[in-house]
C-alpha cells in the first residue's frame, strides 16, 4: 500500500478524465441548438458509412449514392461495416478524423450509433441519417444532426392493407409472412397492416372502421428470405387450405410464397391474392406475370433525396426532422412501365 499511484489507478484516472472530457464536449455541444453549418463550396467530400452490402437493396442504396455524387462531381468516401455495429462506429470515427465535409449514413443500431453522431457534431461535421434513425433521447434531429430521411414503414403496411381490402372486396383469409423478428421494418409493417384492418390509421379511427371480413388466419416469420418464405408458406398452406390472401413484409418472401402456392396446385393471382413491400425487379416481373397483386415501394434510391437535402441545408432552408421518402406503388397498371428499372 506504499505506492499511491499504481499502474491500474493511473489508467482508471485517465479513463475517468477522458470520460469527463468527452461528456464535457457533449454538454458544450448541446448548448448549440443546431447542427454545425456547412459552407458553400465548389465541391464536397461526403463520408458514407454503409452498414453492409449483403443484399440487393443495400447494393442499390450504395450505387444510388455513388451515382449522385459522381453526377455532381463530389467525392464520396464509402465504408462498409459488413453488418458489424462496432465496425460502423469505427468507420464513422475514422471519417470524422479524415475531416469529411458532411456525413451521410444509415445507423445500424439506433442507440449504439447515437454517440458518434454527437462526436461528429462536436467535430463540426453535419450529419444526415438515411433509412434508419438514431435514438432521439441521445441525439435529436434538427439539433444534433440535420435530419432523418427514410420511408414510413407503418404507412407501407397501411397501403398494402388498403390495396388488399379493395382487391378482395373486404373479404379475405390472410396469411402474413413477417420479416425478421424484432427488426423495425417487420414490426412497423405488421402494425400498419393490422391497424388498418382493425380500423385505425396513425392512432385515429378510419371512416369505414374495422374490416370484419378480413382475418389474419396465420402469421409467421420468413426472415425476409425467399427460401424461408416458400417453406413457411408450404407448411401454412397445409393447415390453412382456405387461405385467400397473402401479405408478405417483403418481395422475396412473396415470391417464395408464389412458388409454394404453385407447387400446391393453387393459382396465385387468381384464387390467392398477394401483396408485398419493396418494389424489386423480381416483384415487378411477378406482377406482370399476374401472380403478385401489388407491391409498395420501399425505395433504396437515397442518392438524389440525400444530396437535395444537403443543398437545402447549405442554403439555410428549414428542414423537417423527418424527410419522408415518397414511396411509389406498383400494381398491374404500372408494373410493366417500371420493369427492370428497380433493383
Amino acid at each position: 500500500m506504499s505506492r499511491i499511484l499504481t499502474r491500474r489507478s493511473v489508467l482508471r484516472l485517465s479513463a475517468a478524465g477522458t470520460g469527463l472530457f468527452v461528456a464535457g464536449r457533449y454538454f458544450t455541444g448541446t448548448t448549440f441548438a443546431a447542427p454545425p453549418p456547412l459552407e458553400q463550396q465548389d465541391t464536397y467530400t461526403i463520408g458514407f458509412a454503409q452498414t453492409d452490402l449483403n443484399n440487393p437493396w443495400r447494393i442499390a442504396e450504395s450505387k444510388s449514392m455513388q451515382d449522385e455524387a459522381a453526377a455532381r462531381g463530389y467525392t464520396l468516401v464509402e465504408t462498409n461495416a459488413n453488418e458489424d455495429t462496432a465496425k460502423q462506429i469505427a468507420d464513422v470515427k475514422s471519417l470524422i478524423a479524415q475531416g469529411v465535409d458532411i456525413l451521410i449514413f444509415p445507423p445500424r443500431e439506433s442507440q449504439a450509433l447515437a454517440p458518434v453522431v454527437m462526436e461528429a457534431k462536436a467535430a463540426g461535421i453535419p450529419v444526415i441519417l438515411i433509412d434508419r434513425d438514431v435514438d432521439h433521447s441521445i441525439a435529436a434531429p434538427g439539433e444534433d444532426y440535420v435530419t432523418f430521411i427514410g420511408s414510413d414503414f407503418i404507412d407501407q403496411g397501411r397501403r398494402a392493407a388498403e390495396w388488399l381490402a379493395e382487391a378482395t372486396g373486404g373479404e379475405a383469409r390472410i396469411i402474413q409472412l413477417e420479416g425478421t423478428t424484432g427488426a423495425d421494418p417487420a414490426i412497423d409493417r405488421q402494425q400498419g397492416f393490422e391497424d388498418y384492418l382493425a380500423g385505425m390509421v396513425q392512432g385515429s379511427p378510419t371512416p369505414d372502421g374495422p374490416i370484419a371480413g378480413m382475418e389474419i388466419i396465420a402469421s409467421q416469420t420468413g426472415n425476409f428470405t425467399r427460401d424461408q418464405g416458400r417453406e413457411v408458406m408450404q407448411t401454412l398452406l397445409q393447415a390453412n387450405p382456405d387461405v385467400t390472401a397473402v401479405y408478405a413484409h417483403n418481395d422475396e418472401m412473396a415470391i417464395g410464397a408464389i412458388a409454394a402456392l404453385q407447387e400446391a396446385g393453387r393459382a396465385p393471382g387468381e384464387d390467392v391474392t398477394l401483396v408485398s413491400i419493396d418494389g424489386s425487379n423480381a416483384a415487378l416481373d411477378a406482377i406482370v406475370d399476374g401472380t403478385l397483386g401489388a407491391t409498395v415501394e420501399s425505395s433504396p434510391f437515397f442518392g438524389p433525396i440525400a444530396f437535395a437535402t444537403m443543398d437545402q441545408y447549405i442554403a439555410g432552408e428549414e428542414i423537417p426532422d423527418w424527410v419522408k421518402v415518397e414511396d411509389r406503388f406498383f400494381d398491374e397498371s404500372n408494373a410493366a412501365e417500371f420493369q427492370g428499372t428497380q433493383y
Partner: protein
C-alpha cells in the same frame, strides 16, 4: 440369419471387423439411440395426425421431405466428419459457392459446343469445386494440423466471400438468364419421378449409400476407428490422413449438391442467403440422431431421424401458428433432451 452369436472380447477382434458388416435391421433398432430417435419421431407423428389439420396428405408428406432433403444431404457428410472426431463449419458457405457457380454455365448460346455440355457443367463443376474446397479443409486438418473447428472456419468465412465476389454480391434470377438450359437445371429442385420430388430421391440415395459405406465397408470401419482412438488406429495401420481428407471431401461434395438443389428450388441464386446457418442445422440433426460429437460412433439412420424430428417439430410449430420466439425455445429444448439422453448412454 439374425441369431445373435456370442462375440469374442473386443480387444481380440481385428479393428476392421469389430462389427459384422452387412445391413441388419434388428441390430439397427437395438441400438438404443436410434430406437429413442425413432420413438420421438413416432410421438410427433401421432400428435400431428391427431391435432394438425390436413396432416395426413400427400402435400404434407412432400412439403416435409422436400424441406428436409437438403439438411439431410449435408448432415450425412457432417456425420462422416463428426465420426472422425471433427466438424465442418464450412458447409453453408460451400452451398453458396456451388449455388453461384451453377448459373455461370447456364448460358444461351453454344459457348461449350453443344447446349447440353453447359447443363452437364452446371451440375458437375460446382460440385467438383466444393469437393476440392472440402479437400482443402481436410488438408488444413491433416497436414497443417489445425483443429477442425478452426480449419473449417476459414472457408465458413472465406467461402461466402468467394461466392459474393464471383457474382459481385448480386442476387441472380434464373429467369433473367434467358437460357433454354434453365428448365433442365431446375429439374434437380422442382422435377420429379413418378410423383416423387427429385431431391427426395437424391436424399434417399445419399442416405442409403452412406449407411452402407459406414456399416459395410473398410472405409466405414476406418472412419469410426479414426474417431474412436486416433493413435491406436494409426499404429494398427489405419491411413488416418487419407480417411480425414476423404470425409471432408465428401462433406464438401454433398454441400455442393445441396447448394444446387436450393438455388434450383428458388429459381435464383443469392450468395448471401443460400446455405445460411446450414452448418448448425446439420450438426443439430447429427446430435439429435445420436452420433456423439466426440467421434468414434456414428449412425446415418440416426442422422436421418434427427433431421426428420427437427423438421417435423418446425412443421408442427408453424402449422399451429406458434410464434417464432416460442418455437426456437421448443426446438432448443428438444436438442438439450437429445444430448442429455446421449450422455446417459455414454456414462
Amino acid at each position: 440369419m439374425a441369431v445373435p452369436t456370442p462375440r469374442p472380447a473386443r480387444a481380440m477382434e481385428p479393428l476392421a471387423a469389430s462389427r459384422r458388416p452387412g445391413f441388419d435391421l434388428r441390430a439397427v433398432l437395438q441400438t438404443s439411440q436410434t430406437a429413442r430417435a425413432l420413438a420421438a419421431l413416432v410421438v410427433l407423428l401421432v400428435y400431428n395426425v391427431l391435432f394438425t389439420t390436413n396432416f395426413v396428405s400427400l402435400g404434407t408428406f412432400n412439403a416435409n421431405l422436400t424441406q428436409v432433403a437438403t439438411i439431410v444431404i449435408v448432415a450425412v457428410g457432417m456425420t462422416f466428419v463428426i465420426a472422425t472426431g471433427g466438424v465442418d463449419l464450412s458447409v453453408g458457405s460451400l452451398m453458396a459457392v456451388s449455388g453461384v457457380l451453377a448459373p455461370l454455365f447456364l448460358v444461351s448460346g453454344g459457348q461449350f459446343g453443344a447446349p447440353w455440355v453447359g447443363l452437364v457443367l452446371a451440375f458437375t463443376v460446382p460440385v467438383a469445386v466444393t469437393a476440392l474446397f472440402g479437400l482443402f479443409n481436410g488438408t488444413l486438418v491433416t497436414k497443417v494440423g489445425l483443429q477442425p473447428i478452426i480449419a473449417t472456419l476459414v472457408l465458413f468465412l472465406a467461402g461466402r466471400g468467394i461466392a459474393q465476389v464471383i457474382v459481385n454480391g448480386e442476387l441472380r434470377e434464373f429467369r433473367n438468364l434467358g437460357s433454354p438450359l434453365v428448365p433442365g437445371f431446375e429439374f434437380i429442385g422442382l422435377g420429379g419421378i413418378a410423383g416423387v420430388r427429385f431431391q427426395i430421391l437424391i436424399m434417399a440415395v445419399v442416405v442409403a449409400v452412406a449407411a452402407w459405406a459406414l456399416r459395410a465397408t473398410v472405409f466405414g470401419r476406418y472412419v469410426l476407428a479414426t474417431g474412436g482412438n486416433e493413435a491406436a488406429s494409426r499404429l494398427a495401420g489405419v491411413p488416418i490422413q487419407k480417411v480425414k481428407l476423404t470425409v471432408y471431401t465428401i462433406s464438401g461434395l454433398l454441400a455442393g449438391i445441396a447448394g444446387l438443389i436450393v438455388v434450383a428450388i428458388n429459381r435464383s441464386s443469392d450468395p448471401h442467403r443460400v446455405g445460411e446457418l446450414m452448418e448448425l442445422d446439420a450438426i443439430a440433426a447429427v446430435a439429435v440422431g445420436g452420433t456423439p460429437l466426440s467421434g468414434g460412433r456414428a449412425t446415418i439412420l440416426g442422422t436421418l431421424l434427427g433431421a426428420l424430428i427437427i423438421q417435423l417439430l418446425r412443421f408442427t410449430l408453424i402449422s399451429h401458428n406458434i410464434s417464432d420466439g416460442v418455437a426456437r425455445i421448443v426446438i432448443a429444448a428438444v436438442i438439450v433432451v437429445a444430448v442429455l439422453l446421449q450422455r446417459q448412454r455414454t456414462s
